[in-house]
Protein backbone atom coordinates (compact mmCIF):
# COMPACT_ATOMS: atom_id res chain seq x y z
CA UNK A 1 0.00 0.00 0.00
CA UNK A 2 1.28 3.45 -0.85
CA UNK A 3 0.43 6.50 1.21
CA UNK A 4 -0.78 8.42 -1.84
CA UNK A 5 -2.44 7.20 -5.03
CA UNK A 6 -0.89 8.28 -8.32
CA UNK A 7 -2.37 11.36 -10.00
CA UNK A 8 -1.42 13.47 -13.02
CA UNK A 9 -2.21 16.66 -11.11
CA UNK A 10 0.88 18.45 -9.80
CA UNK A 11 1.56 20.25 -6.55
CA UNK A 12 0.81 17.58 -3.97
CA UNK A 13 4.23 17.75 -2.34
CA UNK A 14 4.24 21.54 -2.22
CA UNK A 15 0.69 22.07 -0.92
CA UNK A 16 0.79 19.15 1.50
CA UNK A 17 4.20 20.17 2.80
CA UNK A 18 3.06 23.73 3.39
CA UNK A 19 -0.22 22.58 4.98
CA UNK A 20 1.55 20.29 7.47
CA UNK A 21 4.26 22.85 8.25
CA UNK A 22 1.81 25.71 8.84
CA UNK A 23 -0.63 23.50 10.78
CA UNK A 24 2.17 22.40 13.12
CA UNK A 25 3.52 25.92 13.55
CA UNK A 26 0.23 27.72 14.27
CA UNK A 27 -1.94 25.04 15.88
CA UNK A 28 -0.24 21.80 16.92
CA UNK A 29 2.93 23.06 18.61
CA UNK A 30 1.09 25.72 20.69
CA UNK A 31 -1.53 23.18 21.79
CA UNK A 32 1.17 20.65 22.65
CA UNK A 33 2.80 23.36 24.75
CA UNK A 34 -0.39 23.61 26.79
CA UNK A 35 -0.41 19.87 27.53
CA UNK A 36 3.30 19.94 28.44
CA UNK A 37 2.75 22.90 30.76
CA UNK A 38 -0.05 21.15 32.63
CA UNK A 39 2.25 18.11 32.90
CA UNK A 40 4.93 20.13 34.72
CA UNK A 41 2.91 19.94 37.95
CA UNK A 42 2.36 16.69 39.81
CA UNK A 43 -0.92 14.80 39.59
CA UNK A 44 -1.86 15.86 43.13
CA UNK A 45 -1.25 19.51 42.32
CA UNK A 46 -3.22 19.12 39.08
CA UNK A 47 -6.12 17.52 40.96
CA UNK A 48 -6.03 20.22 43.64
CA UNK A 49 -6.02 22.96 40.99
CA UNK A 50 -9.00 21.62 39.07
CA UNK A 51 -11.12 20.75 42.13
CA UNK A 52 -10.62 23.97 44.08
CA UNK A 53 -14.10 25.14 45.27
CA UNK A 54 -13.88 28.35 43.23
CA UNK A 55 -13.01 26.34 40.12
CA UNK A 56 -15.77 23.80 40.70
CA UNK A 57 -18.24 26.66 41.15
CA UNK A 58 -17.18 28.12 37.82
CA UNK A 59 -17.66 24.74 36.09
CA UNK A 60 -21.19 24.59 37.50
CA UNK A 61 -22.03 28.15 36.46
CA UNK A 62 -20.64 27.69 32.93
CA UNK A 63 -22.22 24.27 32.45
CA UNK A 64 -25.62 25.30 33.88
CA UNK A 65 -25.89 28.58 31.98
CA UNK A 66 -24.77 26.90 28.72
CA UNK A 67 -27.36 24.17 29.19
CA UNK A 68 -30.18 26.67 29.82
CA UNK A 69 -29.10 28.84 26.86
CA UNK A 70 -28.86 25.88 24.47
CA UNK A 71 -32.29 24.64 25.61
CA UNK A 72 -33.92 28.06 25.09
CA UNK A 73 -32.32 28.12 21.64
CA UNK A 74 -33.55 24.61 20.84
CA UNK A 75 -37.16 25.72 21.48
CA UNK A 76 -37.11 29.16 19.87
CA UNK A 77 -34.58 28.15 17.21
CA UNK A 78 -36.96 25.41 16.07
CA UNK A 79 -39.78 27.96 15.83
CA UNK A 80 -37.57 30.39 13.87
CA UNK A 81 -36.27 27.70 11.49
CA UNK A 82 -39.81 26.39 10.94
CA UNK A 83 -41.17 29.85 10.20
CA UNK A 84 -38.28 30.66 7.83
CA UNK A 85 -38.59 27.39 5.89
CA UNK A 86 -42.36 26.86 5.81
CA UNK A 87 -44.05 30.26 5.82
CA UNK A 88 -43.75 33.42 3.80
CA UNK A 89 -44.11 36.87 5.29
CA UNK A 90 -42.86 40.34 4.40
CA UNK A 91 -39.17 40.90 5.16
CA UNK A 92 -38.40 37.19 5.44
CA UNK A 93 -35.10 37.42 3.56
CA UNK A 94 -33.85 40.17 5.88
CA UNK A 95 -34.87 38.18 8.96
CA UNK A 96 -33.11 35.14 7.53
CA UNK A 97 -29.88 37.09 6.98
CA UNK A 98 -30.12 38.64 10.46
CA UNK A 99 -30.00 35.21 12.12
CA UNK A 100 -26.24 35.19 11.47
CA UNK A 101 -25.71 38.45 13.36
CA UNK A 102 -24.26 36.74 16.48
CA UNK A 103 -21.65 35.12 14.19
CA UNK A 104 -20.73 38.34 12.44
CA UNK A 105 -20.83 40.73 15.39
CA UNK A 106 -17.59 40.92 17.41
CA UNK A 107 -18.36 39.43 20.81
CA UNK A 108 -17.15 42.46 22.76
CA UNK A 109 -19.72 44.59 20.91
CA UNK A 110 -22.51 42.12 21.66
CA UNK A 111 -21.38 42.05 25.27
CA UNK A 112 -21.57 45.77 25.92
CA UNK A 113 -24.80 46.10 23.91
CA UNK A 114 -26.55 43.37 25.96
CA UNK A 115 -25.25 44.90 29.18
CA UNK A 116 -26.63 48.31 28.17
CA UNK A 117 -30.05 46.80 27.40
CA UNK A 118 -30.35 44.76 30.60
CA UNK A 119 -28.76 47.23 33.05
CA UNK A 120 -31.34 48.58 35.55
CA UNK A 121 -31.75 51.74 33.44
CA UNK A 122 -31.60 49.94 30.06
CA UNK A 123 -34.34 49.40 27.50
CA UNK A 124 -35.43 46.06 28.99
CA UNK A 125 -33.80 46.34 32.42
CA UNK A 126 -35.99 49.30 33.45
CA UNK A 127 -39.14 47.18 33.00
CA UNK A 128 -37.69 44.17 34.82
CA UNK A 129 -36.14 46.14 37.68
CA UNK A 130 -39.47 47.11 39.36
CA UNK A 131 -40.47 43.44 39.18
CA UNK A 132 -37.35 42.55 41.17
CA UNK A 133 -35.73 40.73 38.24
CA UNK A 134 -32.05 41.55 37.87
CA UNK A 135 -30.35 40.40 34.70
CA UNK A 136 -27.11 42.34 34.34
CA UNK A 137 -24.35 41.13 36.69
CA UNK A 138 -26.26 37.94 37.61
CA UNK A 139 -26.34 34.36 36.28
CA UNK A 140 -29.45 35.32 34.30
CA UNK A 141 -27.28 37.78 32.39
CA UNK A 142 -24.81 35.03 31.50
CA UNK A 143 -27.72 32.96 30.15
CA UNK A 144 -28.98 35.88 28.06
CA UNK A 145 -25.52 36.39 26.49
CA UNK A 146 -25.08 32.68 25.78
CA UNK A 147 -28.57 32.49 24.24
CA UNK A 148 -27.65 35.36 21.91
CA UNK A 149 -24.42 33.67 20.87
CA UNK A 150 -25.91 30.19 20.33
CA UNK A 151 -29.07 30.99 18.34
CA UNK A 152 -27.63 30.69 14.79
CA UNK A 153 -26.28 27.18 15.48
CA UNK A 154 -29.74 25.73 16.06
CA UNK A 155 -31.47 27.64 13.26
CA UNK A 156 -28.79 27.00 10.63
CA UNK A 157 -28.57 23.29 11.46
CA UNK A 158 -32.36 22.84 11.36
CA UNK A 159 -33.05 24.78 8.17
CA UNK A 160 -31.50 22.26 5.71
CA UNK A 161 -33.09 19.35 7.59
CA UNK A 162 -36.55 20.94 7.28
CA UNK A 163 -35.98 21.81 3.62
CA UNK A 164 -34.95 18.24 2.81
CA UNK A 165 -38.17 16.74 4.21
CA UNK A 166 -40.49 15.20 1.65
CA UNK A 167 -43.97 16.71 1.63
CA UNK A 168 -45.26 13.28 0.52
CA UNK A 169 -44.61 11.80 3.95
CA UNK A 170 -46.73 14.50 5.57
CA UNK A 171 -49.44 13.99 2.94
CA UNK A 172 -49.40 10.28 3.64
CA UNK A 173 -49.77 10.93 7.36
CA UNK A 174 -52.67 13.31 6.71
CA UNK A 175 -54.39 10.91 4.32
CA UNK A 176 -54.14 8.17 6.95
CA UNK A 177 -56.12 10.42 9.26
CA UNK A 178 -53.44 12.05 11.40
CA UNK A 179 -54.13 15.53 12.69
CA UNK A 180 -51.52 18.20 11.99
CA UNK A 181 -50.22 17.99 15.56
CA UNK A 182 -49.94 14.19 15.34
CA UNK A 183 -48.06 14.53 12.04
CA UNK A 184 -45.64 16.96 13.64
CA UNK A 185 -45.04 14.91 16.78
CA UNK A 186 -44.90 11.47 15.14
CA UNK A 187 -43.51 12.18 11.64
CA UNK A 188 -41.73 15.52 11.37
CA UNK A 189 -40.14 15.75 14.81
CA UNK A 190 -38.41 12.33 14.72
CA UNK A 191 -36.99 13.17 11.29
CA UNK A 192 -35.46 16.49 12.40
CA UNK A 193 -34.42 15.20 15.85
CA UNK A 194 -30.75 14.51 14.87
CA UNK A 195 -30.43 18.03 13.42
CA UNK A 196 -32.01 19.52 16.52
CA UNK A 197 -29.64 17.57 18.78
CA UNK A 198 -26.64 18.60 16.67
CA UNK A 199 -27.67 22.26 16.75
CA UNK A 200 -28.23 22.06 20.49
CA UNK A 201 -24.81 20.49 21.03
CA UNK A 202 -23.07 23.04 18.79
CA UNK A 203 -24.71 25.91 20.68
CA UNK A 204 -23.76 24.25 23.98
CA UNK A 205 -20.12 23.72 22.90
CA UNK A 206 -19.82 27.31 21.79
CA UNK A 207 -21.34 28.52 25.07
CA UNK A 208 -18.81 26.54 27.15
CA UNK A 209 -15.89 28.50 25.69
CA UNK A 210 -17.55 31.87 25.19
CA UNK A 211 -15.79 34.85 26.70
CA UNK A 212 -16.35 38.21 24.98
CA UNK A 213 -20.12 38.52 25.14
CA UNK A 214 -20.30 37.23 28.74
CA UNK A 215 -17.47 39.15 30.41
CA UNK A 216 -19.32 42.49 30.47
CA UNK A 217 -22.76 41.28 31.58
CA UNK A 218 -21.58 38.71 34.13
CA UNK A 219 -19.92 40.98 36.68
CA UNK A 220 -17.24 38.33 37.34
CA UNK A 221 -18.03 37.59 41.01
CA UNK A 222 -16.10 34.48 42.20
CA UNK A 223 -18.46 31.60 43.12
CA UNK A 224 -21.45 33.52 41.69
CA UNK A 225 -20.95 34.77 38.14
CA UNK A 226 -17.43 33.69 37.23
CA UNK A 227 -17.38 31.47 34.14
CA UNK A 228 -14.47 29.13 33.32
CA UNK A 229 -12.81 31.30 30.61
CA UNK A 230 -12.90 34.27 32.98
CA UNK A 231 -11.34 32.20 35.74
CA UNK A 232 -8.53 31.15 33.38
CA UNK A 233 -8.04 34.80 32.48
CA UNK A 234 -7.82 35.74 36.19
CA UNK A 235 -5.22 33.01 36.84
CA UNK A 236 -3.18 34.23 33.87
CA UNK A 237 -3.25 37.80 35.16
CA UNK A 238 -1.86 36.46 38.46
CA UNK A 239 0.91 34.69 36.47
CA UNK A 240 -0.42 31.40 37.83
CA UNK A 241 0.28 29.64 34.53
CA UNK A 242 0.33 26.03 35.76
CA UNK A 243 -3.12 26.23 37.38
CA UNK A 244 -4.51 28.12 34.37
CA UNK A 245 -3.16 25.36 32.10
CA UNK A 246 -4.69 22.64 34.31
CA UNK A 247 -8.15 24.27 34.20
CA UNK A 248 -7.79 24.82 30.45
CA UNK A 249 -7.05 21.12 29.91
CA UNK A 250 -10.28 20.22 31.73
CA UNK A 251 -12.23 22.80 29.67
CA UNK A 252 -10.74 21.50 26.42
CA UNK A 253 -11.63 17.95 27.43
CA UNK A 254 -15.24 19.04 27.95
CA UNK A 255 -15.53 20.68 24.52
CA UNK A 256 -13.96 17.67 22.80
CA UNK A 257 -16.48 15.43 24.59
CA UNK A 258 -19.33 17.52 23.18
CA UNK A 259 -17.81 17.33 19.69
CA UNK A 260 -17.54 13.56 20.01
CA UNK A 261 -21.22 13.51 20.97
CA UNK A 262 -22.07 15.50 17.82
CA UNK A 263 -20.13 13.04 15.66
CA UNK A 264 -21.93 10.11 17.26
CA UNK A 265 -25.33 11.75 16.65
CA UNK A 266 -24.46 12.33 13.01
CA UNK A 267 -23.15 8.83 12.50
CA UNK A 268 -26.28 7.45 14.13
CA UNK A 269 -28.63 9.61 12.02
CA UNK A 270 -26.84 8.61 8.79
CA UNK A 271 -27.21 4.95 9.68
CA UNK A 272 -30.84 5.56 10.63
CA UNK A 273 -31.52 7.35 7.34
CA UNK A 274 -29.82 4.70 5.19
Amino acid sequence: MTLKQHSILPGFGLTMGFTLFYLSLIVLIPLAGLLLKSATISWDQFYAAVTDPQVVASYKITFGASLVAASVNAVFGLAVAWVLVRYSFPGKNIVDAMVDLPFAMPTAVSGIALTAIYAPNGWIGRWLDPLGIEVAYTQLGIMVALTFIGLPFVVRTLQPALEDMDVEIEEAAASLGATRLQTFVRVIFPAIMPALLTGFALAFARALGEYGSVVFISGNLPMKTQIVPLLIMTKLEQYNYAEAAAIAVVALGASFAVLLFINIVQWWSRRYAA
Partner: protein
Protein backbone atom coordinates in the same frame (compact mmCIF):
# COMPACT_ATOMS: atom_id res chain seq x y z
CA UNK B 1 -62.01 22.37 -12.71
CA UNK B 2 -63.55 23.70 -9.53
CA UNK B 3 -63.38 20.22 -8.09
CA UNK B 4 -59.61 19.70 -8.65
CA UNK B 5 -58.90 23.14 -7.23
CA UNK B 6 -60.84 22.21 -4.17
CA UNK B 7 -58.80 19.03 -3.77
CA UNK B 8 -55.53 20.92 -4.24
CA UNK B 9 -56.60 23.37 -1.54
CA UNK B 10 -57.30 20.57 0.85
CA UNK B 11 -54.00 18.84 0.01
CA UNK B 12 -52.18 22.07 0.88
CA UNK B 13 -54.15 22.42 4.10
CA UNK B 14 -53.14 18.91 5.11
CA UNK B 15 -49.44 19.85 5.11
CA UNK B 16 -49.64 23.23 6.75
CA UNK B 17 -51.08 24.70 9.91
CA UNK B 18 -54.22 26.71 10.52
CA UNK B 19 -53.92 30.43 9.99
CA UNK B 20 -53.78 31.34 13.68
CA UNK B 21 -51.06 28.78 14.43
CA UNK B 22 -49.01 30.19 11.57
CA UNK B 23 -49.33 33.77 12.75
CA UNK B 24 -48.68 32.75 16.35
CA UNK B 25 -45.41 31.01 15.34
CA UNK B 26 -44.35 33.94 13.16
CA UNK B 27 -45.17 36.32 16.01
CA UNK B 28 -43.24 34.31 18.60
CA UNK B 29 -40.23 33.98 16.29
CA UNK B 30 -40.10 37.62 15.34
CA UNK B 31 -40.50 38.74 18.96
CA UNK B 32 -37.65 36.45 20.01
CA UNK B 33 -35.39 37.66 17.19
CA UNK B 34 -36.36 41.25 17.87
CA UNK B 35 -35.43 40.98 21.55
CA UNK B 36 -32.22 39.02 21.04
CA UNK B 37 -30.88 40.29 17.71
CA UNK B 38 -32.41 43.58 16.60
CA UNK B 39 -32.39 45.24 20.00
CA UNK B 40 -28.64 44.78 20.75
CA UNK B 41 -27.82 46.04 17.26
CA UNK B 42 -30.05 49.10 17.70
CA UNK B 43 -28.60 49.68 21.18
CA UNK B 44 -25.06 49.98 19.79
CA UNK B 45 -26.00 52.83 17.47
CA UNK B 46 -28.37 54.49 19.95
CA UNK B 47 -25.68 54.58 22.63
CA UNK B 48 -23.00 55.71 20.19
CA UNK B 49 -25.10 58.68 19.09
CA UNK B 50 -26.67 59.37 22.51
CA UNK B 51 -24.61 62.53 22.99
CA UNK B 52 -24.92 63.79 19.50
CA UNK B 53 -23.14 63.51 16.19
CA UNK B 54 -20.27 65.86 17.15
CA UNK B 55 -19.37 63.75 20.17
CA UNK B 56 -19.53 60.62 17.99
CA UNK B 57 -17.09 62.04 15.46
CA UNK B 58 -14.79 63.31 18.23
CA UNK B 59 -14.74 59.82 19.85
CA UNK B 60 -13.68 58.24 16.59
CA UNK B 61 -11.08 60.92 15.87
CA UNK B 62 -9.31 60.34 19.18
CA UNK B 63 -5.70 59.31 18.60
CA UNK B 64 -6.00 56.07 20.63
CA UNK B 65 -9.13 55.12 18.66
CA UNK B 66 -7.35 55.83 15.39
CA UNK B 67 -4.35 53.72 16.36
CA UNK B 68 -6.71 50.88 17.38
CA UNK B 69 -8.37 51.09 13.96
CA UNK B 70 -4.95 51.05 12.27
CA UNK B 71 -3.80 48.03 14.29
CA UNK B 72 -7.01 46.10 13.55
CA UNK B 73 -6.59 46.76 9.82
CA UNK B 74 -2.92 45.76 9.97
CA UNK B 75 -3.66 42.49 11.78
CA UNK B 76 -6.43 41.58 9.32
CA UNK B 77 -4.18 42.55 6.41
CA UNK B 78 -1.59 40.00 7.59
CA UNK B 79 -3.82 37.22 8.95
CA UNK B 80 -6.40 37.04 6.15
CA UNK B 81 -3.99 36.65 3.19
CA UNK B 82 -1.78 34.16 5.06
CA UNK B 83 -4.73 31.99 6.05
CA UNK B 84 -6.17 32.32 2.53
CA UNK B 85 -2.96 30.96 1.00
CA UNK B 86 -2.99 28.16 3.55
CA UNK B 87 -6.67 27.45 2.89
CA UNK B 88 -6.16 27.13 -0.87
CA UNK B 89 -3.06 24.95 -0.44
CA UNK B 90 -4.76 22.68 2.10
CA UNK B 91 -7.92 22.37 -0.02
CA UNK B 92 -5.84 21.53 -3.13
CA UNK B 93 -3.93 18.79 -1.31
CA UNK B 94 -7.02 17.36 0.40
CA UNK B 95 -9.60 17.64 -2.38
CA UNK B 96 -7.52 16.76 -5.44
CA UNK B 97 -5.52 13.80 -4.12
CA UNK B 98 -6.22 10.52 -2.35
CA UNK B 99 -3.92 9.78 0.56
CA UNK B 100 -3.74 7.99 3.87
CA UNK B 101 -4.94 9.90 6.97
CA UNK B 102 -7.05 12.49 5.15
CA UNK B 103 -9.88 12.61 7.68
CA UNK B 104 -7.40 13.01 10.54
CA UNK B 105 -5.88 15.99 8.74
CA UNK B 106 -9.32 17.58 8.26
CA UNK B 107 -10.07 17.10 11.96
CA UNK B 108 -6.76 18.74 12.91
CA UNK B 109 -7.49 21.72 10.64
CA UNK B 110 -10.85 22.15 12.42
CA UNK B 111 -9.21 22.07 15.85
CA UNK B 112 -9.07 25.86 16.46
CA UNK B 113 -12.89 25.98 16.16
CA UNK B 114 -13.31 23.90 19.28
CA UNK B 115 -10.77 25.72 21.42
CA UNK B 116 -12.09 28.52 23.63
CA UNK B 117 -10.66 31.90 22.56
CA UNK B 118 -9.13 32.47 25.98
CA UNK B 119 -7.29 29.14 25.73
CA UNK B 120 -6.15 30.02 22.19
CA UNK B 121 -4.47 33.14 23.53
CA UNK B 122 -3.17 31.35 26.57
CA UNK B 123 -1.21 28.73 24.59
CA UNK B 124 0.78 31.60 23.08
CA UNK B 125 1.52 33.03 26.53
CA UNK B 126 2.71 29.59 27.68
CA UNK B 127 4.97 29.34 24.64
CA UNK B 128 6.26 32.89 24.28
CA UNK B 129 5.66 34.46 27.72
CA UNK B 130 8.42 35.37 30.16
CA UNK B 131 8.12 31.94 31.84
CA UNK B 132 7.32 30.21 28.55
CA UNK B 133 9.26 27.64 26.55
CA UNK B 134 10.59 30.00 23.89
CA UNK B 135 9.98 33.37 25.56
CA UNK B 136 13.31 33.85 27.39
CA UNK B 137 15.31 32.75 24.33
CA UNK B 138 13.45 35.19 22.06
CA UNK B 139 13.57 38.04 24.54
CA UNK B 140 17.34 37.68 24.86
CA UNK B 141 17.37 38.43 21.14
CA UNK B 142 15.04 41.39 21.46
CA UNK B 143 11.99 39.68 19.99
CA UNK B 144 8.77 40.25 21.95
CA UNK B 145 5.66 38.24 21.19
CA UNK B 146 3.47 38.53 24.28
CA UNK B 147 2.17 42.08 24.90
CA UNK B 148 3.31 42.97 21.38
CA UNK B 149 1.80 43.19 17.91
CA UNK B 150 3.36 39.90 16.76
CA UNK B 151 1.45 38.06 19.54
CA UNK B 152 -1.81 39.64 18.38
CA UNK B 153 -1.09 38.53 14.81
CA UNK B 154 -0.29 34.96 15.96
CA UNK B 155 -3.47 34.78 18.07
CA UNK B 156 -5.53 36.00 15.12
CA UNK B 157 -3.84 33.48 12.80
CA UNK B 158 -4.78 30.72 15.26
CA UNK B 159 -8.48 31.60 15.63
CA UNK B 160 -9.05 32.31 11.92
CA UNK B 161 -6.94 29.33 10.81
CA UNK B 162 -9.72 27.02 9.46
CA UNK B 163 -12.08 29.57 7.85
CA UNK B 164 -10.93 29.52 4.21
CA UNK B 165 -9.82 25.85 4.22
CA UNK B 166 -13.16 24.72 5.68
CA UNK B 167 -15.05 26.62 3.00
CA UNK B 168 -12.98 25.30 0.08
CA UNK B 169 -12.46 21.63 1.01
CA UNK B 170 -16.11 20.46 0.56
CA UNK B 171 -16.53 22.69 -2.49
CA UNK B 172 -13.43 21.36 -4.27
CA UNK B 173 -14.19 17.77 -3.26
CA UNK B 174 -17.63 18.10 -4.85
CA UNK B 175 -16.10 19.46 -8.05
CA UNK B 176 -13.78 16.48 -8.50
CA UNK B 177 -10.62 16.39 -10.60
CA UNK B 178 -11.82 15.77 -14.20
CA UNK B 179 -11.55 19.37 -15.37
CA UNK B 180 -8.04 19.79 -14.00
CA UNK B 181 -6.96 16.45 -15.49
CA UNK B 182 -8.32 17.51 -18.88
CA UNK B 183 -6.39 20.78 -18.69
CA UNK B 184 -3.18 18.87 -17.88
CA UNK B 185 -3.71 16.45 -20.77
CA UNK B 186 -4.18 19.44 -23.10
CA UNK B 187 -0.75 20.66 -22.04
CA UNK B 188 -1.48 23.27 -19.36
CA UNK B 189 1.13 23.72 -16.65
CA UNK B 190 0.18 23.17 -13.00
CA UNK B 191 -0.08 26.89 -12.32
CA UNK B 192 -2.10 27.50 -15.51
CA UNK B 193 -4.45 24.69 -14.53
CA UNK B 194 -5.03 26.26 -11.13
CA UNK B 195 -5.46 29.81 -12.42
CA UNK B 196 -7.62 29.08 -15.48
CA UNK B 197 -9.63 26.05 -14.34
CA UNK B 198 -9.74 25.72 -10.55
CA UNK B 199 -9.83 29.37 -9.51
CA UNK B 200 -12.86 30.34 -11.65
CA UNK B 201 -14.69 27.33 -10.21
CA UNK B 202 -14.03 28.21 -6.59
CA UNK B 203 -13.99 32.02 -6.69
CA UNK B 204 -17.33 32.61 -4.90
CA UNK B 205 -16.63 30.03 -2.22
CA UNK B 206 -13.15 31.49 -1.77
CA UNK B 207 -14.56 35.00 -1.41
CA UNK B 208 -17.12 33.71 1.09
CA UNK B 209 -14.37 32.16 3.20
CA UNK B 210 -12.26 35.31 3.00
CA UNK B 211 -15.17 37.50 4.16
CA UNK B 212 -15.88 35.27 7.17
CA UNK B 213 -12.17 35.06 7.97
CA UNK B 214 -11.88 38.85 7.83
CA UNK B 215 -14.92 39.44 10.06
CA UNK B 216 -13.43 37.16 12.69
CA UNK B 217 -9.91 38.59 12.32
CA UNK B 218 -11.16 42.13 12.91
CA UNK B 219 -13.61 41.18 15.66
CA UNK B 220 -11.58 38.67 17.68
CA UNK B 221 -11.58 39.57 21.35
CA UNK B 222 -10.81 36.73 23.77
CA UNK B 223 -7.61 35.33 22.26
CA UNK B 224 -6.21 38.76 21.45
CA UNK B 225 -7.12 40.05 24.90
CA UNK B 226 -4.87 37.45 26.57
CA UNK B 227 -1.74 38.29 24.57
CA UNK B 228 -2.16 42.03 24.04
CA UNK B 229 -1.53 43.54 27.48
CA UNK B 230 -3.94 46.39 26.56
CA UNK B 231 -1.26 49.03 25.96
CA UNK B 232 -3.18 52.07 24.69
CA UNK B 233 -2.05 53.33 21.33
CA UNK B 234 0.24 50.30 20.91
CA UNK B 235 -1.37 46.89 21.35
CA UNK B 236 -5.07 47.75 21.45
CA UNK B 237 -7.16 46.47 18.57
CA UNK B 238 -10.66 47.90 18.11
CA UNK B 239 -12.47 45.28 20.24
CA UNK B 240 -9.87 45.73 22.99
CA UNK B 241 -10.19 49.51 22.80
CA UNK B 242 -13.96 49.11 23.22
CA UNK B 243 -13.30 47.17 26.42
CA UNK B 244 -10.80 49.72 27.77
CA UNK B 245 -13.15 52.65 27.12
CA UNK B 246 -16.10 50.78 28.58
CA UNK B 247 -14.23 49.87 31.75
CA UNK B 248 -13.25 53.53 32.13
CA UNK B 249 -16.99 54.39 32.08
CA UNK B 250 -16.41 56.24 28.82
CA UNK B 251 -19.56 54.58 27.48
CA UNK B 252 -20.32 56.86 24.54
CA UNK B 253 -16.80 56.55 23.13
CA UNK B 254 -16.85 52.76 23.67
CA UNK B 255 -20.09 52.46 21.71
CA UNK B 256 -18.79 54.80 19.00
CA UNK B 257 -15.87 52.43 18.30
CA UNK B 258 -18.25 49.47 18.71
CA UNK B 259 -20.58 50.97 16.10
CA UNK B 260 -17.81 50.69 13.49
CA UNK B 261 -17.46 46.99 14.31
CA UNK B 262 -21.26 46.60 14.15
CA UNK B 263 -21.18 48.21 10.70
CA UNK B 264 -18.51 45.70 9.69
CA UNK B 265 -20.84 42.92 10.89
CA UNK B 266 -23.72 44.33 8.83
CA UNK B 267 -21.55 44.61 5.71
CA UNK B 268 -20.40 41.02 6.29
CA UNK B 269 -24.02 39.84 6.53
CA UNK B 270 -24.99 41.65 3.32
CA UNK B 271 -22.01 40.24 1.37
CA UNK B 272 -22.71 36.79 2.79
CA UNK B 273 -26.35 36.92 1.64
CA UNK B 274 -25.31 38.12 -1.83
CA UNK B 275 -22.78 35.29 -2.17
CA UNK B 276 -25.25 32.71 -0.87
CA UNK B 277 -27.77 33.92 -3.41
CA UNK B 278 -25.10 33.73 -6.12
CA UNK B 279 -24.05 30.20 -5.24
CA UNK B 280 -27.57 29.18 -4.26
CA UNK B 281 -26.69 27.35 -1.13
CA UNK B 282 -27.27 27.63 2.56
CA UNK B 283 -24.37 26.55 4.70
CA UNK B 284 -24.76 24.85 8.04
CA UNK B 285 -22.84 26.33 10.98
CA UNK B 286 -20.37 23.47 10.89
CA UNK B 287 -19.53 24.27 7.30
CA UNK B 288 -19.23 27.91 8.25
CA UNK B 289 -17.25 26.77 11.21
CA UNK B 290 -18.36 29.22 13.85
CA UNK B 291 -17.37 27.92 17.21
CA UNK B 292 -15.06 30.49 18.69
CA UNK B 293 -15.20 33.98 20.10
Amino acid sequence: MKHTENIRCRAAAATTESRWVRWLLIGVSLTFLGLFLAMPLAAVFAQALSRGWAMYVRSLGDSDALSAIRLTLLVALIAVPVNTVFGVAAAWAIAKFQFFGKSVLITLIDLPYSVSPVISGMVLVLLFGRQGWLGPWLEARGIHVVFAVSGIVLATLFVTFPFVARELIPLMQAQGTEEEEAARLLGASGWQTFRRVTLPNIKWGLLYGVILCNARAMGEFGAVSVVSGHIRGETNTMPLHVEVLYNEYNTTAAFAVASLLALLALVTLVLKSVLQWKTGEQLTPEEQGYTGD
